[in-house]
């Protein structure tokens, strides 16, 4: 058994583990609460792009500190960043960590999909032989896991009683010290400026992926002449709109999320539109890059771009901690026709602009 354990450890020792602990259900890795440089780098990469999609730890049971048969069991997702935040929060504690297979998705999103759910928890308890590892029958789940886990059903099927712990793993030590009681702050989700800023790279990224298409469209529009597609007018006349397009992405994907509570109205579409109007005003007025004497260009600046900013801002509803499906549906019901209308009218105006430019009207 000892030799077997050693071989097992040598073979697949994950970087965050410091040896192993033998349990009636087989050896499990003991994890460190410290973060390596690779862990921090992994967090940064997960915050900005697709790296997160495969950032996973193997589901199963892990040990933090020197857990015994009566130690607490904390359940979590197998998104590595989630797992890392949990093990860091369990510093100097002795506990078991039960990792569910959530396909490398965080607890809340996975609970919404059902992968951090009752069935997976019931199966994982059986697969790890948890009932032999611990003598008690208590599990502590992250509170946001309650979206996917029905506590009474887990109790019925496994005998384990589920407690929903604090929303944030960092509150676990205080929660345990308080006798497994949560105060209001521990059970309420917040959305600070820092929380929002952390999320903006994933708003800017997808918007910038579409940027080349829009930019190409603008250049073709301005470069198109009766004699063909000319580079000089495309660049010199198109550039102001390219800058405005960039400002609009900043307005919708960065400024609106960052300044969310300070922009008036509750509707994200309206918030994004207001910030978009301000960025158009900045381009036309302060920067003077759009020719203010040309009524058509002026109209497009104030019609199309704020609508685009509004649309981009509306995407942020998917990342907040307080928007619901019914509200977003309502916004889209009104917003989508307005966006399509604004885009259609803007296109028509630009056609008129071109016809005028070519002296056809």
């Amino acid at each position: 058994m000892q030799l077997q354990t050693l071989q097992f450890v040598k073979k697949v020792l994950p970087p965050f583990s410091i040896g192993s602990v033998s349990t009636p259900g087989g050896p499990v890795f003991r994890v460190t609460s410290d973060w390596s440089r690779a862990d921090t780098w992994g967090m940064i990469k997960s915050r900005v792009g697709a790296f997160r999609m495969n950032y996973a730890v193997t589901p199963g049971l892990y040990a933090a500190g020197e857990p015994k048969q009566d130690s607490d069991v904390f359940v979590t997702a197998n998104y590595k960043l989630t797992f890392d935040i949990l093990r860091r929060s369990l510093k100097e504690m002795n506990a078991w960590i039960l990792v569910l297979d959530t396909k490398s998705i965080n607890v809340w999103c996975a609970a919404g999909k059902g992968t951090f759910g009752t069935d997976e928890l019931v199966q994982r308890i059986a697969a790890t032989g948890l009932d032999k590892v611990v003598t008690h029958r208590r599990l502590i789940l992250p509170q946001l896991g309650a979206v996917g886990v029905c506590a009474s059903e887990v109790h019925e099927k496994t005998g384990f009683r589920v407690s929903f712990g604090p929303v944030q793993a960092r509150d676990i030590p205080a929660y345990v010290r308080a006798g497994y009681k949560k105060n209001k702050a521990m059970r309420t989700i917040t959305f600070s400026m820092i929380d929002r800023l952390i999320l903006t790279p994933m708003e800017i990224n997808p918007a910038m992926k579409k940027f080349p298409w829009f930019a190409g469209g603008i250049l073709v529009l301005f470069g198109l002449q009766p004699s063909g597609l000319l580079f000089h007018p495309a660049w010199s006349n198109g550039l102001p709109f390219l800058i405005l397009l960039l400002l609009t992405v900043v307005a919708g994907a960065f400024l609106t999320p960052a300044l969310l509570p300070f922009v008036p109205f509750r509707s994200f579409a309206v918030k994004g539109w207001i910030v978009g109007m301000l960025s158009s005003a900045l381009a036309v007025g302060t920067l003077g890059i759009i020719d203010g004497h040309n009524t058509i260009l002026l109209a497009v600046s104030y019609l199309f771009f704020p609508a685009l900013s509004s649309y981009i801002a509306l995407q942020f509803t998917g990342s907040t901690t307080f928007t619901g499906m019914s509200g977003v549906k309502k916004e889209l019901k009104i917003g989508l026709p307005v966006y399509i209308g604004a885009a259609g009218i803007s296109l028509a105006l630009m056609i008129v602009f071109k016809l005028k430019e070519w002296g056809l009207v």
């Binding site: 309650a146 994933m202 307080f322 928007t323 889209l332």
Partner: protein
């Protein structure tokens, strides 16, 4: 921060409440609080329809049409049919993680 007023589909029937406090324990928005032996709704507009309360109410006192409050997911469901889900067609970098 609060989202749009009067849009949540949350329905609470206090006469079915047995006072277990599960809804207070799971709601991350403080929609419920215990008033005496029963739960009471503090402010409906705080609700984001995550569905944790309804799933964990053993007495069937709570119902909510829960789902993903994400514009991209809802637009996808309009175009492709089916309920809004996080499995965006954009794949890799488009969704939650």
């Amino acid at each position: 921060m609060k989202y749009l007023a009067n849009v949540t589909t949350l329905k609470y029937r206090s006469e079915k409440c047995a006072g277990c406090g599960s809804c207070v324990e799971v709601c991350p928005r403080g929609v419920f609080e215990m008033q005496g032996k029963r739960a009471a709704v503090t402010d409906r507009d705080l609700c984001m329809e995550c569905g944790a309360c309804a799933l964990n109410c053993e007495f069937g006192a709570i119902a909510v049409n829960s789902g993903v409050g994400c514009a991209a997911a809802i637009i996808n469901s309009i175009i492709n049919g089916g309920p809004p889900s996080c499995d965006c067609s954009g794949g890799a970098s488009s969704c939650c993680g």
